[in-house]
Symmetry: C2
Subunit: 195 residues, 2 copies
């Protein structure tokens, strides 16, 4: 007699790693502080804890992969916003607001990115990482005013990134309560002129 259902669970999962990343992502999104346990994750996957070591050298590598995925989403979001908003001052403002908004809507992913980055050993491919961050900075930098020297544009981009990054962090840490109008006001206040 043929088994009606696949006998409980097959010994091999098919594509762990993808599954681990997916529901690892979900698990992190559901919290507001990124906190992932290997064993808990394995339990959710219906798999043994040590099985994950066939796909990631250690827990840090897994978190790095998740951070990279999160960074990709953030970067894509920024690029989309930059394209939609067009150039000029208004575009810049919208892109900045988008950054803060994404952080507020995905607090745990946002935190994950910047907790993992800056670790002594960020284990993922530095090329991917560089690309992702280039895309992020690019989304911010594209809307810089044209009448600036390259140096000025760099400083301006860093200024803008610092501003929205700090604002997002302060909101996530509960130091200032989120309010879209407030965010807009703060970002709008940035007014570049060479001086």
């Amino acid at each position: 007699m043929l088994p009606i259902l696949p006998v409980s669970a097959p010994y091999h999962h098919g594509d762990l790693r993808a599954a681990a990343l997916q529901i690892g992502m979900e698990r992190i999104e559901d919290q507001d502080h990124p906190d992932l346990g290997l064993r808990a994750l394995a339990r959710d996957l219906g798999v043994s804890a040590t099985a994950l070591y066939r796909h990631f050298p250690n827990k840090d590598a897994l978190l790095d992969a998740l951070a990279l995925e999160a960074l990709g989403r953030l970067g894509a979001n920024q690029a989309r916003a930059a394209e939609a908003a067009g150039g000029g001052r208004n575009g810049f403002i919208e892109v900045g607001i988008t950054y803060v908004t994404w952080a507020v809507e995905n607090p745990s992913l946002f935190r994950l990115i910047y907790t993992r980055v800056g670790k002594v050993d960020f284990d993922c491919d530095p090329t991917e990482m560089g690309e992702a961050f280039m895309q992020l900075r690019g989304g911010i930098a594209t809307t810089m005013p044209d009448n600036m020297s390259i140096e000025q544009r760099n400083v301006a981009a860093l200024h803008a990134w610092s501003l929205v990054h700090g604002l997002a962090m302060l909101i996530l840490d509960g130091q200032v309560e989120y309010d879209p109008d407030m965010v807009r006001n703060v970002v709008v206040m940035t007014d570049f002129r060479g001086s």
Copy 2:
């Protein structure tokens, strides 16, 4: 015969808690990512791990106390800078630079503050906490231009705080390499006018 030396160590430490906070602080300052273990700390104190539970309800409370101490130092530093720099635009710039500089020089303490704050249960006295942060924001806000409405000043203070906070974070996370001139340029770029 009288014991020449105090027989090894007395059963009671005299003032644990103070000692725990002190060398806990030292241990954190020596790293660049705040990572403290109860048992390691207790070992350094020459005391059993569970002894700490007579002075702190749990590890989080200990870290919160350390974060409060760190926040006090940062706030004092800001207040000192604000007083020394005087008011006006230049004063504001110097205070902002001071914030970033302190973060760069005390990366682990800076991180500790903002990792602990924003936790769901920050266990320390909210009054102290409020005071410390009021002092911090005060140091930033005192140098705001006078020709602004209160509302404008609030937005401006938040803008300034976000800027230096974000810049500090990005530097600590290795996204931009520290350079005093760069910091000055970025901070100087903030130029308040009603729009």
